[in-house]
Symmetry: C2
Subunit: 334 residues, 2 copies
DNA sequence: CTGTTGGCATACATCGTTGCAGATCAGGCC
DNA sequence: GGCCTGATCTGCAACGATGTATGCCAACAG
């Protein structure tokens, strides 16, 4: 039913392969022939069947992207950047939502899904490095966001530790001494939660402020997690003059809860987050946070992955570039 | 290099076609044979090459989704729902960002991209019905969100008019009489902007409140558009006691600007939006808005599209189901 | 006139599957 | 025994493109 190269060839009066050559910009084609083919393509409305091309060439020109859920703003914004970066290089992106479940993450790493892509960008949340290495096939894989960090894997690093320290230092500079942390448990040292918590502790130590585990509250990295944790903190009677949400969703949830409880932000309690999602600028008060270099992360990750794809053999050396971060000071913690 | 059915067949000691039959759950296979094949698949780590299957079968089991940008929360949340609905039916979703540009929208409708999908979900922003019909190929197409509405096209309808009227009525019931509208120009009657504006006017008329064009401010449907428009409104000296953002981003932008300017919300000025994005619940004050039935829209659209795909010939009748809406009353306009 | 070169076009095999049309074989029935 | 039925398995030809090898012809050198 669809128009094929064969049809075009017949109309143009050339062989099928010549049509293929025209489409692929083969050098040695007489201009007149080329024009005849192009006219035929136009006339018939021919479009190359990418499926067939993929089968023959072994490349799909698609990248897989595995993340928890697009309804989470940080991932959505990152996905948007990634798609633009990939597009600019002639690749499309096939998104797979893992829902943060190990089962789905593993399925995405192994599953048939992989046969549709030339390589995979993966934001691991539930699996650890060992499991990822076990599950991953031989196709190129680049990790993002480093809940996981491992010398055997390509990844683009967020400077969790230093960025978190920078935010904490900013809060300390504002005179805050009792800074609550939302989204980690006392003792976490790995993953984004652990690294950010460590950054926080390092900043405290630098400033000579004591670390109080009572100020550290674990919860889901979502708005309602942040709100709940803040409520618990307030109810517990622990004193604090600032809240550091380990991501913006947590901070925004905290902000909401504080305002509901009649606390003045930032006068009584300052609030800071991590990620600089769009929403942070428009919260009331606007949210102080740290931008982890999202666009740069997307760009680097896509670039790294495509390099791996297009030169499979070369450079077996693992790469782990770091993105630059920047503290964005706004009203919630001036 | 990759393991193929042929390899599996050799190991299992059966024909290639039998392997295929096992994979496709062909009925008449001796259990022992089936087991032998499954064992071989396991042993070799065979995975079906979906590209080859697509070529042979003519189906890709992928749906295209064209929207402006995933960094816009409403689209991201809708995309997430659509992907889940599609997944549940054995389809994947290939997202294409149009950036709200006619050129990109047209490319997405026609381009080679379509050869990778069995059908398309399309949220048109820049093209009108005529252009869409011209550009679209013969593959199934379902429109969402109806900036465009046309009897020749399948689509899932948002009840723009009635939902906007309901929100307006809610504001009126709260005693507001000077309700500013952000995101439409006086006189708009088509598209989401026009339909929502008409709903607003209808509600005013019902309540016997005069319509004042000075209260209607056009702008980009984004947070900063809403903030700017609100600033202009305040500066212009026009009196108003409520703001109705034609989507939540506008309303949140307005909310932000009002608070920055020291206005009390909702005491002095009430704010309401449209979409019920996640963020609305966690704004401070939380945002009154109308939920257009996002999950239902996603579900219906995917269902409709897949029905079209799987029975191309049947039911040439255009379908345009309507999703149920619901006003969500929160603090910004109690 | 023959041999070589280079531009241009073609034929054929092939990528990994699935649809179609048998082939084979055991069991049941007359 | 011959024939039919239905379960089980197989071979061949596609799907629509591209890589490789090669053919053909004009131009040009010897």
């Amino acid at each position: 039913m669809a128009v094929t190269m064969n049809d075009v060839a017949r109309v143009a009066g050339v062989s099928l392969k010549t049509v293929s050559n025209v489409i692929n910009n083969y050098e040695f084609i007489r201009p007149t022939t080329k024009q005849r083919v192009l006219d035929a393509i136009d006339e018939l409305g021919y479009e190359t069947n990418l499926t067939a091309r993929s089968l023959r060439s072994g490349k799909t020109s698609m990248l897989g992207l595995v993340l928890a859920d697009l309804s989470i703003p940080y991932y959505a914004e990152l996905a948007s950047d990634i798609m633009k970066a990939a597009w600019a290089r002639g690749y499309r992106v096939l998104v797979e939502q893992s829902g943060n479940e190990p089962y789905h993450e593993k399925a995405a790493l192994q599953g048939q899904f992989r046969t549709l892509t030339d390589g995979l960008l993966f934001i691991p949340l539930a699996l650890d490095a060992e499991q990822i290495i076990d599950a991953a096939g031989k196709k190129p894989l680049v990790l993002l966001g480093e809940f996981v960090q491992d010398p055997r894997l390509d990844m683009v690093l967020i400077q969790n530790h230093r960025a978190a320290a920078a935010v904490t230092t900013h809060l300390l500079a504002g005179g805050r001494r009792r800074i609550a942390v939302l989204g980690a448990h006392d003792g976490d040292t790995t993953g984004s939660n652990g690294l950010r918590l460590e950054g926080y502790r390092a900043a405290l130590a630098d400033a000579g402020v004591a670390y109080d585990p009572a100020l550290v509250v674990g919860c889901d990295w979502r708005r309602d997690g942040g709100a709940d944790a803040t409520a618990r903190l307030l109810d517990s009677g622990v004193e604090f003059d600032a809240v550091f949400g380990l991501n913006d969703a947590l901070a925004l949830g905290a902000l909401h809860e504080l305002l509901v409880r009649g606390k003045k932000v930032p006068e009584e309690i300052a609030v800071a987050g991590f990620d600089d999602i769009d929403e942070a600028r428009f919260a009331s008060p606007s949210l102080t946070t740290v931008a982890p270099g999202r666009a740069e992360i997307a760009e680097r990750a896509v670039e790294l992955l495509i390099n791996r794809i297009e030169s499979m053999d070369a450079s077996p050396q693992v790469q782990q570039p770091e993105a630059a971060f920047e503290v964005r000071v706004r009203q919630s913690a001036p």
